[in-house]
């Protein structure tokens, strides 16, 4: 029995689940300390999501960009780079998506692919710039990506101020053409035929018209699978991981370290760019908006990647968790008056315990040692 627990404790997934449980416990303590019933709060968070299909869809929509920015950070981690530039890369992707999707009128499906491609290239190059500065001049990527975030933000705002791009007297740019939207049945649901049908089916009505339900979530999962394949099955992934784990040995073996750094940052940037593109094609207003502050998906990505211990597949689940918590947090504030910040405490605790996962290894070793002593 003890041995099984010890072995289980040594698995990464177990460690992460334990960290999440600890996060919930500490969150409960914080709630109780502030005078709120933790059980009722958690129940509220849970039921608010799972009681209505509309809310479940809402969480999935929130999850989509978080998966992709999470992948972006996790991918860079594998080469030993800390990509804080998800925000800027997301915005560059969104900008490219709106420019291409708003101007060109291409056949359906192809138009979405072209938009995503444009976003990958724009955001990828934006990420690669930080990679290049690191490889060529040794400037730390944390510094460059943070600064590039702000450049992207003001570039976005500038574009909206340009006549012809920004719509007069609004905070919006022109939108992506409707046939490039990735919403489920986007043209049918607004047609007269669709309206009649939906009026008769209230559940479907709330899902299709009450949310921006779109195909982004599926695309994000496919991308996560592709990234996992790229990392663990290809020569390029092999090189990236070798560089990330031991740059000197990789260099000595003839692997081009600098090229790998730039390529990694291109792909990391591209992933955040896809997040931006899918957000533009999938959610209203399908246009750029003047921003006062960073949209937050890039920073969510850091949390997602840290919670997933940089596993691409893990990012899908931790992005779901993060988005669920953020959604649930807002409902407890609305309905119980409990502070939604408790969600941030929980997330912080989870990240902390994933980071000190070695603690679980230690416990596991203690258990094993006890077993050996018993055997003696």
């Amino acid at each position: 029995m003890g041995s099984k627990i010890a072995e289980l404790l040594d698995k990464t997934a177990t460690k992460i689940i334990l960290a999440i449980v600890l996060g919930f416990i500490v969150g409960a303590l914080a709630l109780a300390g502030a005078g709120y019933d933790p059980v009722a709060s958690y129940a509220m968070m849970f039921t608010s999501i799972f009681s209505s299909p509309q809310n479940m869809i809402q969480v999935l929509i929130l999850t989509t960009p978080n998966i992709l920015t999470g992948l972006s950070v996790a991918f860079a981690f594998k080469t030993g780079l800390f990509n804080i530039g998800g925000e800027g890369q997301y915005l560059m992707g969104a900008t490219a998506a709106v420019m291409v999707g708003g101007v060109f009128n291409l056949p359906p499906v192809i138009n979405v692919l072209v938009i995503i491609l444009a976003a990958v290239i724009a955001a990828g190059l934006y990420g690669a710039l930080a990679g290049f500065l690191k490889a060529r001049f040794g400037i730390h990527e944390v510094i460059t990506t943070i600064m590039l975030n702000w450049i992207a933000l003001y570039f976005n705002n500038y574009l909206i101020s340009v006549p012809g791009i920004g719509l007069k007297n609004t905070q919006y740019s022109f939108p992506i053409q409707q046939n490039a939207w990735t919403n489920v049945l986007s043209s049918w649901k607004t047609s007269s035929q669709g309206q009649v049908y939906l009026a008769a089916h209230p559940t479907l009505n709330t899902i299709l018209l009450g949310t921006d339900i779109n195909y982004g979530f599926i695309i994000a999962i496919v991308v996560a699978l592709l990234i996992s394949f790229l990392l663990y099955r290809t020569t390029f992934g092999y090189q990236i991981r070798a560089v990330g784990l031991n740059k000197d040995a990789a260099e000595g073996a003839g692997i081009k370290v600098k090229k790998n750094i730039v390529m990694t940052m291109f792909i990391a940037g591209g992933l955040s760019g896809v997040a931006g593109a899918l957000q533009m094609t999938g959610t209203a207003p399908h246009a750029l908006v003047t921003l006062a502050t960073q949209p937050g998906y890039g920073f969510n990505g850091i949390t997602v990647a840290l919670m997933a211990n940089s596993s691409p597949i893990g990012c899908i689940f931790t992005a779901l968790l993060l988005s669920g918590l953020q959604f649930g947090g807002s409902t407890i504030q609305m309905n119980l008056g409990a502070p939604s910040e408790v969600v941030n405490i929980m997330i912080g605790v989870i990240v902390f315990f994933v980071a000190v996962a070695s603690m679980f290894t230690m416990i596991s070793e203690r258990l094993k040692r006890r077993r050996i002593k018993v055997a003696d």
Binding site: T234, N246, D248, A249, E251, G252, A253, K256, I372
Partner: protein, 512 residues
Amino acid sequence: MNAQQQYAVEMQSIYKYFDTFCALNSVNLKVKKGSIHALLGENGAGKTTLMNILYGLYRPDSGKILINGEPVEMKNPNVAIEHKIGMVHQHFKLVEKFTVAQNIILGQEVVKAGCILDLARARKQVRELSQTYGLAVDPDAKIEDISVGMQQRVEILKALYRGVEILILDEPTAVLTPQEISELVNTMHNLTANGKTIIIITHKLKEIKKSSEYCTIIRRGKYIDTVDVKSVTEQMLASKMVGREVNLIVEKTKANPQDVIFSIDNLTIEDNRKIERVKDFSLSVRRGEIVGIAGIDGNGQKELVEAITCLTKVKSGKISLNGVELQNTSPHNVIENGICTIHEDRQKRGLVLDFPVKYNFILENHHKPQFAAHYVLKEQAISKFAEDSIKAYDVRPENCASEPVKALSGGNQQKVIIARELSNNPELLLAFQPTRGLDVGAIEFIHNALIKHRDSGHSILLISFELDEIINVSDRICVLYDGRIVAEFQQGEVDEYELGLLMAGGEKKDGI
């Protein structure tokens, strides 16, 4: 003196497990007060683990420790320090930018008025200490400017400054010249004459014979024997350590060198502070010979290796293999042209420690058709290659292909590197400290592998700080001093004392 107090250190039936691996299995050690006691064992035998337990860095799973007859629970190094135990680690723990005196007092500073550093008094104390024990150091020299031998004396003084009575030296001779080694042996005798007790961890038999009175041998975590050093031969010690008969002399036939394939002409290399580390260096290696470069660490070996492998740029000069110039190209190009390298620091340059063993076997060749098709790794081919290499080179444990390479012992890690580099069948194998930190058994294996490679018509450039290795393995020996070759010999023309002098900057004796 009653019987109990006769021993400074007694360790009784010590057990230590790492995971399910039993690192120490009922090991006993008794060290007489005022003696020099050697702890002998192969790499991974558990000598350092045992000493780390004595120093409180690890806690034993069971067993007793007695210091001067008193049972002590070694919870952490502070307890060890309280009991006047000091340890000089293999890799020194000194602050490079500080002076000798500053390093010695670090952590136990001499102060006046409660908080003001009194360097004058510190210097005086250091000088007194160094006179008492005959350890010559300059208290005002900076660590980065003094030799390795001197740094070691600083480490020993640091321990003495803290009033140490029992001193543990972990592989103290690994980086020293023969002359420095005899100085160290003198120092050790001085210390025991002053009543100190010394435990020396080593796998060098010669030094045990020279320095120690008693020797405890452990093998694979098991206590084997404690012997009176005077009554045994080196050969007997080696057999006890390895558990079988070992050949201490490298067996090889005479070299049959052919045409020159590798040459370095007038090579000059600057380091990043624009100081010339290799100066107008020329060398040629012929097919079918092993050329050894003897020298003390820091005379340009590292720069030379990095230049040949294109990890650093050369300022001027040519490096060519089969007439193809290679300097200032890329590591990839050098490998493709037929030079493979065993790097000095296997954990830094040689291996990706967190990768499984099988991935480490393909570090240079992962993109070759043998291991990848259309950029996708062929897992089966990789596993097969790893398993074959593990068998051929006797890497242990046998089923380690999917384990991270960091789980292997040093000797087995080195075998992984040798297997990988030789699988490329390189025209020139550049071997830089190929047996660093390895035990007799592994050294024998690696030397034989090198000679086999030579006998198959290839060349080897061997750069080593171990004189025995240079003398035994090389067909031709060059002495490197201050970035230049100062002398050249055929094998058998020179002994270690003459080499030692030349390595330290002495003049070459002209025939009398």
